[in-house]
């Protein structure tokens, strides 16, 4: 079973050394999603809706990213995969 989706980080090759296993994956140029939140809050990661209430973050942006997350989760669940460890550092910006 091989899952491919534009919202999933692709795994291109995998090979091994004498000491290490290597997984060659897609490089997401724009960094982590948590960095995006830090820039918008100028602090550490804050609860997103508090940013919205203060007017620092537009709710349409959040709707977009939430929709992306729901999209990929729907795809995974339709293919019988449970993530089991969903958190902010696992999201990247393409």
């Amino acid at each position: 079973m091989r899952l491919t989706h534009p919202n999933l980080v692709k795994l291109y090759y995998s090979f091994q050394d004498k000491f290490k296993l290597y997984f060659v994956m897609e490089f997401c140029e724009n960094g982590e999603f948590s960095d995006f939140l830090r820039i918008n809050s100028t602090k550490k990661i804050v609860f997103i809706f508090s940013l919205v209430k203060k007017g620092k973050l537009d709710i349409k942006i959040i709707q977009f990213y939430a929709g992306e997350i729901v999209n990929i989760l729907e795809y995974l669940h339709n293919n019988g995969v449970a993530h089991r460890d969903l958190k902010v550092p696992f999201f990247f910006k393409l």
Partner: protein, 157 residues
């Protein structure tokens, strides 16, 4: 691609003569057009078999099989797909096997729970990839930890 491979695998069957044109079995129109040419090749192959083997039984069997195949050529691709030769798998795996030397080190991207992630540039097409490198010794330790050294503990993979 698959049909080309299947035609290559057919070479292993000694009784069935190999087709010279791999295009034969891709399109139904080509089969009807190219059948007379194929008959000539088959006759030449029969002569080769007589020279090499000098066994009448094999030739008779091959003639019977060839006659069956000529009457209904659609049997051929089905047989090939049901019996893929062991050479095919090695041919498919062998050409693309990467190693670390195919990449140039750029910088460290960060550390995950299992190992570090390195930004590397592929030497051939100069594209950037994120390479996750996991230490094998660390993996053995983690697996042993989950095993617990107890046989009676059920392991969840």
């Amino acid at each position: 691609m698959d049909e080309d491979f299947s035609n290559a695998g057919k070479l292993q069957d000694p009784l069935i003569p190999p087709p010279q044109n791999p295009v034969l079995f891709t399109d139904d129109q080509n089969i009807t057009k190219l059948n007379p040419n194929d008959n000539d090749e088959v006759s030449s192959l029969k002569n080769n078999n007589e020279k090499n083997d000098s066994k009448e039984e094999n030739n008779e069997e091959s003639k019977n099989i060839v006659a069956n195949l000529e009457s209904n050529p659609h049997l051929l691709p089905k047989k090939q797909h049901s019996n893929p030769s062991p050479q095919l798998k090695t041919n498919k795996v062998a050409p693309k096997k990467m190693c670390v030397d195919d990449f140039d080190y750029m910088r460290n991207l960060g550390k995950g729970s299992f190992g570090e992630v390195i930004l590397m540039k592929k030497k051939i097409d100069e594209k950037l990839y994120a390479v996750k490198a996991i230490d094998k010794n660390f993996l053995y330790k983690v697996l042993f930890h989950f095993r617990g050294g107890d046989i009676f503990v059920i392991v969840l993979f």
